[in-house]
Symmetry: C2
Subunit: 249 residues, 2 copies
DNA sequence: CGACAGCTTGATCGATCTCAAGCACGGTGG
DNA sequence: CCACCGTGCTTGAGATCGATCAAGCTGTCG
């Protein structure tokens, strides 16, 4: 299981625009690279970020922080996949978002995290003390714009999620989910198969379904010839148009 | 119906901190007041905003903009209630958010709106050409911080919405919805009754239910003595603790 | 007063959940 | 090296909650 997902971890989605070793902009690479991508890297900012960053490896299943904890840090995911989960008192779990390399975790105006961040695969994050991170926002206008863009994109993602949960049936939800993963992978170069780094229980908690229903929906898509699923963590889209139809959007 | 909801429109939620007539910061009042509230109003910014703003009255049922349209403007809602709806091809509608005075509409990084904005009640908005609005973000750091905070809060709202739709049953959804409205009204001073400016169909499309199920859930809460519902658009919380229990959060 | 839009309530149907069994695969220990 | 075990996935059968279909009610407006 672990070895299956490990392959993808070192491949940074922003690898095409990496900076030379030793360049102060290089770490935290995702932030620097994203800024660079937008034509706005600032040497001074890179150095200031580097001065406050802590880079850490984490294992699959590990909790980066828990719902209700004081929100001391802002995280930038460098490698691996993380799930943001909100728990109800009776144990029900809703995965709010899956986060991939380059995504931020823990941007909130509240003083406490209102979800937990749990590692779906092993990986690596860069962590910044919130206060100092926010101070840099005011000092570097490009950086603040960059963060505004990031949060706005995250908002758009959440709104898509609302649409899926509010209106779509089980098969439509799973089809939409597969298309989201496909689109994400396509964004950084062509690929053949969609890799599902998370297990069925995670997909279920993301889509507001049970593992059984997720499994049945995948089987249904497979039996109807829209996708192939050589194993539980790999999906190949055979008929993209029909998959989009089945996703209803 | 219209007269019922009209009463609430003039009451700006930020009325406690309004600025004198003629002050350039006064219009658009919501933005200026919110900034002021955060101790950060800038006369120059107020004047610049006023120079590009168009203030417009709208009627109940009116569409401010439609899904797919070029995103030319950013709106600030001054009075009334607006629903952001995403439509699927077959006509299903998901209300992404209800917006109230002081909220922004149409903040997106995309070039097109990916939802429609529909007036739930009559009201008023201030509208800014996107390009110029964004230019002001780069010029006025306080303003950009303010917008970042706004979008971050909107994201937190959307994440709550995801939790409701993904994990909660019908009664829990309606109870959560009532608590959200209650909390919003409490934020700006004590109040007795919760006013429901939207109709059952809107609540249903927000909560991913049918009007019948919304109606049944409200009846259930009423019959169990947790709320009173003197008419279809008014709810009084009788037992807040039990309502929170029934909302499961 | 009648018409209409919106709300409520009842009866039936169906999609998804729940419970249960069996399967597939990787890891471990003899 | 193979048998065993555990975790995660799939599939089936029955139960349940909410959707659908249908009827009647309420309040507003002309």
């Amino acid at each position: 299981m672990t070895s299956l997902t490990f392959d993808r971890i070192p491949k940074c989605h922003f690898r095409g625009i990496s900076l030379p070793e030793g360049d102060p902009r290089r770490c935290p690479q995702c932030i620097a690279n994203k800024l660079n991508y937008c034509g706005a890297v600032d040497m001074e900012l890179g150095a200031r970020l580097q001065a406050i960053v802590t880079r850490t490896h984490f294992e699959r299943g590990q909790t980066l922080f828990s719902q209700g904890e004081s929100a001391e840090h802002i995280y930038a995911l460098v490698a691996g996949v993380v799930a943001c989960s909100h728990y109800l008192d009776d144990g029900r779990r809703q995965i709010i978002a899956f986060l991939f390399p380059g995504d931020y975790i823990g941007m909130t105006t509240e003083t406490r995290y209102n979800y937990s961040a749990e590692a779906v695969t092993e990986g690596e994050y860069c962590r910044f003390p919130r206060e100092q991170f926010i101070r840099l926002l005011t000092e570097f206008d490009d950086f603040e714009q960059h963060c505004l863009r990031e949060v706005t994109n995250e908002l758009a993602e959440a709104q898509k999620h609302v649409l899926i949960l509010g209106q779509k049936d089980a098969t439509e939800r799973v089809a939409s989910f597969l298309l989201m993963l496909d689109e994400r992978e396509n964004r950084y170069g062509a690929h053949d198969d969609i890799e599902l780094p998370m297990m069925r229980a995670d997909i279920a908690d993301y889509l507001g379904l049970t593992i059984e229903t997720v499994s049945r929906s995948i089987s249904k898509l497979r039996k109807s010839g829209v996708i192939a699923a050589p194993n539980a963590h790999l999906v190949r889209i055979l008929d993209a148009d029909r998959l989009r139809e089945m996703a209803s959007d």
